[in-house]
């Protein structure tokens, strides 16, 4: 143990919490747990959850983390926070006092973000721990059930994991049921009452095909299969539900990585600067802080990007340059008001789109690269003509935009119960080896032929997987 006691941490925490209240951060009650590096590796492998269902992939990720750690390739995070109420955070006990103080402040930043950002409102923080525990119990029970056993459970889990992120992204929009979709279609199909119908030509009534399942393309792949494959057993359906619920919980994290890390870094900085640290701690703070938020050449460090945007946003509303006033008008809010508003209503894509300015991009030297032969080559930089393109591309590389959109179009394609899914191509091709293997997993869950429509090098193609295995053909 380092040169401080738990009591020291409690006292520092007290001071930090005063600052948290003073700055107006709104947090869940907070629990800190001290752990050693093995504990931390364990928590990391299971996304921080104190209990989690077993699956070999977590063993793999533990081994990988441990290998990297043992070989000194990567260090361990200073902390880990879980979005739950009360929020749960793990602190590494080997850290220095300053690191602990910085981490505690950082944790409150995350905590506030979890509580107030809109994307997390669907996660039910008060049940998080219980939810994961219940999942673990259920899966364990299936594993122990002699008529099921680990092989079968893994068989389903492997497939479900492969498809877990193929689900609806924006959880703030309510999903219509099949009946509501049909209802809406029927309503829009009927021509509106036209006061001038004597002179207008009547719009012909096109009867919607209300038998089609799903009526509108469906993004929740696991749930759809659960509800529409009659051959699944109850425990198999339950596993699909469990996997889907977990990815639903993690989607907000994926969606707000930049904002969230930036926000926490922004606040640990402001809090520590306001604590009046003595000289020694202060120097260490500067070093540590810069380690965390440093730019990594050739990559984008979300801590760095996020922090820069938050700081820039705050500055533009507190202390704008004359050009900015000329361009955007004088600020109508204080900097604090603005950032608190943004942390509530934005997610990474909207946040970066709205608040990453051309100047900031140029300042950070953000560029776009493309593969050319063996090399990755810078194709555009953030200059006058390129910055928009670079930004658009950046937007496609953050949050859930990194996951291809795949929707179920028809569950009875060719009246044959073939599952027809379509990749909504946005210029980026699928990785074909991965698509093939994932399609096999889809087939495993659906039990009948699965067809994926996608575009490969500009050509529309169909990838099929059925009892004879994989095949691909070009369309038209």
């Amino acid at each position: 143990m380092a040169n401080y006691s738990l009591q020291d941490l409690v006292e520092w925490d007290e001071r930090i919490r005063e600052k948290v209240a003073e700055f107006g951060l709104d947090c869940y009650p907070q629990e800190f747990e001290l752990c050693d590096h093995n504990g931390m590796l364990g928590y990391m492998a299971y996304s921080g959850m104190p209990s989690h269902y077993p699956h070999w992939s977590y063993g793999k990720s533990y081994e990988k983390l441990k290998t990297l750690y043992d070989h000194g390739v990567s260090g361990l995070p200073y902390e880990m926070v879980i979005n739950s109420n009360p929020a749960l955070a793990y602190l590494m006990r080997d850290n220095t006092l300053l690191l602990q103080v910085l981490t505690i402040a950082h944790v409150y930043g995350h905590n506030d973000f979890f509580k107030r950002n809109f994307t997390y409102s669907s996660t039910h923080a008060e049940y998080t721990i219980e939810l994961f525990k219940a999942h673990a119990l259920r899966v364990r029970r299936y594993v122990e059930d002699p008529s099921i056993g680990i092989e079968k459970v893994e068989h389903i889990l492997d497939a479900a994991h492969a498809l877990s992120l193929q689900r609806r992204r924006n959880l703030a929009i309510r999903k219509l049921t099949q009946a509501e979709q049909v209802q809406r279609a029927l309503e829009t199909a009927r021509p509106p009452d036209d006061p001038f119908k004597r002179i207008h030509q009547a719009r012909p009534y096109v009867e919607p095909n209300i038998r089609k399942v799903p009526y509108e393309p469906e993004e929740d792949v696991l749930l759809f299969i659960r509800d529409h494959n009659p051959f699944l057993q109850e425990w198999e359906k339950d596993i699909l539900t469990i996997v889907d619920e977990e990815s639903k919980y993690f989607i907000p994290m994926i969606e707000t990585k930049i904002m969230n890390e930036g926000w926490a870094s922004y606040w640990h900085k402001r809090i520590l600067e306001s604590l009046g640290l003595e000289q020694g701690l202060r120097l260490e703070f500067i070093v540590r802080h810069n380690q965390v938020v440093r730019p990594i050449p050739g990559q984008l460090n979300p801590y760095h990007l996020g922090l820069r945007i938050w700081e820039d946003l705050h500055r533009r509303y507190t202390n704008p340059t004359p050009e900015e006033i000329k361009r955007d008008g004088p600020p109508n809010k204080t900097g604090d008001e603005k950032i608190f508003e943004a942390r509530e209503v934005e997610r990474d894509v909207s946040f970066v789109r709205r608040y990453l300015t051309e100047d900031l991009m140029r300042d950070m030297d953000i560029f776009q690269y493309e593969p050319r032969g063996e090399d990755l080559v810078v194709s555009k930089v953030s200059d006058e003509e390129g910055w928009r393109a670079v930004k658009e591309n950046l937007l496609r590389n953050i949050g859930m935009a990194t996951i291809p959109v795949i929707k179920i179009e028809d569950a009875d394609f060719g009246q044959n119960r073939t599952l027809y899914v379509k990749h909504y191509h946005d210029g980026r091709d699928l990785h074909l080896e991965y698509a093939e293997k994932t399609l096999a997993y889809l087939y495993r869950l659906w039990g009948r032929e699965c067809v994926l429509e996608t575009t490969v090098q500009g050509k529309r193609s169909l990838l099929c997987f059925n009892d004879r295995g994989f095949s691909a053909k070009a369309l038209k």
Binding site: R17, D36, E63, G298, D348, I366
Partner: protein, 397 residues
């Protein structure tokens, strides 16, 4: 604003020790890796590094990790990065297909990285994996070879009946508690309070450790390695031969208790040599294959009588025999196959070597013995398949 509440939980080493929560998942992952090793065994044993006899040596096996497939974007998707302030179009920032290059941490895991990692496996473990699903051909064995002598016992599961010494007290007690809890309700209703504190063990509670005994044939086996050491056998050919002998020896060792190994090198004359000489000493001259076989027969006569020994003989050569020796070789091979459990001939012709060379494969085709097998080894990747083919000889008939 009121202060948020917070609590701190102190680190307790005892907790940390107890909560190795990923142990089960790691084990399962390890099993998956093992399967992967088995699938790629022919690549792995083609690696030179494993040939050698030190069983405890740890070898590093490079493996493509077990991939977790998802729908992900492929190579044509441009990425975004940050430079040092002077980035210019056309500048090279990395290589394609290299993990972690070019993408920020926010992108981790959404693109296929090349998941190479090395696993440590002891040679013994590897041998175990290799031979797990191989069996010696079930040959006619002579009575003396059949004595079952060695027993090894392995614990395997639990049974309801058994002998007293194998009673598992812990499980038995647990079973009783479970039954007690399960019957608690009825108990109270039926027999009143006084029965409550006496709850005896029942026969059904008893759990015995089950032990399975494994019989091994108490028998001696001898592996006779015959190799052509004539001038035409170069290092590459010897290396291929050596790999094959290595596998054969290791495999036989797993099936018999005493295994001896005899090395016979031959050119126009044959002699028994040490292992060192066998693999490293280059000789020159022509080839009389029959000389090697006759030497082997002679050694068998003297030291390894077929009624007492299981004999496995294997001969590696590049097939470049003097034509005049062929009938003699065929005769000797026939004789040898009569005394051996298994006798094999491996012709080593690395790809690109001179194909117009004569081949013994045609000659041996005329030898009709159930326990004789010829294999052709062209590359190091062929070793494992041919080894399996060699052992599968009997089964295929």
């Amino acid at each position: 604003m009121p202060l948020v509440e917070s609590i701190f939980r102190e680190y307790r080493p005892s907790d940390a020790e107890r909560s190795d929560r990923s142990a089960g998942d790691r084990l399962r992952h390890r099993q998956k890796v093992r399967e992967l090793i088995r699938e790629n065994i022919s690549d792995i044993i083609a690696e030179e590094s494993i040939i050698g006899k030190d069983k405890d040596r740890i070898i590093k096996v490079p493996l493509r990790g077990i991939k977790e497939y998802r729908f992900v974007y492929g190579e044509n998707a441009p990425g975004v990065g940050q430079g040092d302030g002077n980035s210019k179009p056309g500048q090279v920032v990395g290589k394609t297909g290299r993990d972690g290059q070019g993408q920020g941490q926010d992108r981790a895991g959404d693109r296929p990285g090349v998941d190479y990692y090395e696993t440590d496996v002891t040679l013994e473990e590897l041998i175990e994996i290799m031979f797990e699903d191989l069996e010696l051909p079930d040959m006619e064995r002579r009575a003396l070879r059949e004595i079952e002598a060695e027993r090894s016992s392995k614990r395997k599961g639990y049974r309801k009946v058994g002998i007293r010494v194998r009673l598992d007290k812990r499980r038995t007690a647990k079973q009783r508690i479970m039954r007690k809890l399960a019957s608690h309700h009825n108990d109270r209703v039926e027999s009143g309070e006084k029965e409550k504190d006496r709850f005896p063990f029942h026969d059904d509670d008893l759990k015995y450790r089950h032990v399975e005994t494994e019989m091994r044939k108490e028998s001696n086996a001898v592996v006779i390695c015959v190799m052509d050491t004539s001038g035409s056998m170069d290092t590459m050919k010897k290396y291929l031969a050596r790999s094959f002998f290595f596998l054969l020896y290791q495999f036989i060792t797993t099936r018999y208790r005493n295994v001896e190994i005899v090395f016979i090198g031959h050119h126009t004359e044959a002699s028994e040599v040490t292992e060192e000489e066998f693999f490293h000493k280059g000789e020159s001259g022509g080839t009389f294959i029959s000389s090697g076989y006759l030497k082997a027969l002679e050694i068998i006569q003297q030291r390894y009588h077929p009624s007492l020994w299981n004999i496995y003989a294997f001969h590696c050569s590049d097939g470049d025999n003097f034509d005049s020796d062929n009938p003699a070789a065929l005769r000797a091979a026939k004789e040898l196959s009569e005394v051996c459990n298994l006798f094999g001939y491996g012709e080593i012709k690395p790809l690109g070597s001179r194909y117009y060379e004569s081949s013994m494969l045609n000659v041996f085709r005329r030898l009709d013995a159930p326990n004789f097998q010829t294999v052709l080894i062209e590359r190091k990747e062929d070793i494992w398949p041919s080894f399996k083919a060699f052992l599968a000889k009997e089964k295929s008939q």
